[in-house]
């Protein structure tokens, strides 16, 4: 095989029309389930996404995807600097879809972009976690976040073994507002070992999976690395979005992953659909808060 054919840009294998359709449809579903922007932008995004889902011919219209890219980008510009990171990624991905659909073989550039964008997202996430942040590697970030972010309360209590009183005491201690003066007295505050282990495990797992995803998706190899990429991304989405309810980001990553499925990879495509649906369930059924917490804590404690 010539060197050029070994590079992903010139990869000999096509992802196939099924993968493109799936990737584009999952993106449109993401836009419908988690619409972006303010009242001025949202109706256009919803209208375009719904129309493209209902009319298969529109699904492959580059102009439609260009319009979605412009709308997503406008949202980022109007909300600057408050937009979430997946708002940026959404605009890049819609642009990638528009450009790919203008090209001769749409599946190849779309698959390539999906791979590169996922790889770069996790590369920059690694730069932040490993290099720039001064409170991630030692576990402080997760200890604080598990106690201060209300989205993690159920998970912190279930997995960290914190009863309601301990959680509240720790949460109030960490959440104290002290800008000047000495730090608050922490003599009565002891982090339970199980909670400390949970924070360390969350830190270690995220470092591993972020680095593995960056490496796998940016690795120049082709077919041999494919199963690893799909497996890592599916595992990441199935685990992460059960806990961090940033479903829009998860659905977008799955759409990008689906774009890389080969024609023959029917099971992998189904797995992407299954995890996409799983994240819908995570959103609709807050398992930690509604299922496990009452079981573990009892009705009075809860």
């Amino acid at each position: 095989m010539r060197l050029a054919e070994r590079l992903p840009l010139f990869g000999p294998r096509h992802a196939g029309p099924l993968a493109i359709d799936l990737a584009l449809r999952l993106t449109l579903l993401d836009l419908l389930l988690r619409p972006v922007g303010s009242w001025a932008i949202r109706p256009f995004v919803l209208g375009l996404a719904a129309a493209a889902l209902l009319r298969p011919r529109w699904l492959h219209q580059p102009l439609l995807w260009l319009a979605l890219a412009v709308l997503a980008g406008t949202r980022v510009a109007l909300d600057w600097p408050l937009a979430d990171n997946h708002a940026y990624l959404l605009s890049y991905w819609c642009l990638a879809a528009a450009l790919a659909l203008m090209a001769k073989d749409a599946d190849r550039p779309l698959a390539f972009n999906g791979r590169l964008l996922v790889g770069l997202v996790f590369l920059f996430a690694c730069v932040w976690k490993f290099v720039v942040s001064d409170n991630y590697l030692d576990g402080t970030f997760f200890q604080v976040t598990l106690l201060t972010d209300p989205r993690f309360e159920g998970f912190s209590r279930v997995a960290g073994g914190l009863d309601a009183q301990t959680y509240q005491a720790l949460s109030e201690f960490v959440g104290q507002h002290r800008d000047a003066g000495p730090p608050p007295d922490n003599s009565g505050i002891v982090l339970p070992p199980r909670f400390e282990f949970l924070a360390l495990a969350a830190t270690g797992w995220n470092l591993f999976i972020n680095a593995a995803l960056a490496l796998a998706f940016l690795w120049p190899g082709g077919r041999a690395v494919d199963p690893v990429r799909h497996a890592l991304l599916l595992i990441y989405c199935a685990i992460t979005y059960a806990i961090a309810t940033v479903d829009g980001f998860g659905w977008l990553l799955l759409a990008m992953g689906a774009a890389q499925c080969g024609v023959e990879q029917r099971r992998t495509r189904l797995a992407y659909v299954a995890v996409f649906i799983l994240i819908i369930f995570y959103r609709e059924v807050p398992w930690a808060d509604s299922v496990f917490l009452p079981l573990l804590a009892g009705p009075v404690d809860y």
């Binding site: 770069l120 800008d179 922490n186």
Partner: protein
């Protein structure tokens, strides 16, 4: 040359989205370093990596004259402007906020000379998790009537 430009344009479907991502994310790293942007914001994929999230940042505003220093209550309808200013506290954004807050504080009873804005975030001691304030930016603006 034209052929080269044509080839670059034709291959844009492969590199343009990724080039945009890298440009924005690199600029985000620069803004965090030079303009105190919160690591969670700006498209650099620094979310869930630092305790310095926009939610942990807050603003204190004080109006001052020779004798008095009084904290300004931040109006609820300025919540988004405050969030933008604390997330990326550029001089321009803080100055606009200062002018608006000074306007709300101005009355005929007290003459204020300056307004001071302080953007804070929270640091946590590793191990004990004791929170302590960290001053991100402090600016003073002259608001004395001419």
């Amino acid at each position: 040359m034209r052929a080269l430009i044509g080839r670059i344009a034709a291959s844009a479907c492969y590199w343009l989205p990724a080039a945009l991502l890298v440009s924005v994310a690199t600029n985000q790293l620069r803004l965090v370093d030079s303009a105190s942007l919160s690591p969670w914001s700006g498209g650099g994929f620094g979310m869930f990596s630092s305790v310095d999230s926009p939610g942990h940042r807050h603003l204190h505003a004080f109006v001052l004259n020779q004798d008095i220093r009084r904290e300004v209550a931040l109006p609820r309808d300025m919540k988004e402007a405050v969030l933008r200013a604390t997330t990326l506290p550029t001089p321009e954004r803080l100055a606009a906020l200062a002018i608006e807050l000074a306007r709300l504080e101005s009355d005929d009873t007290i003459r204020w000379d300056e307004i001071e804005l302080q953007v804070w975030t929270v640091n946590y001691n590793a191990g004990s998790l004791s929170p302590s304030g960290h001053l991100v930016r402090k600016e003073r603006y002259d608001i004395a009537p001419r």
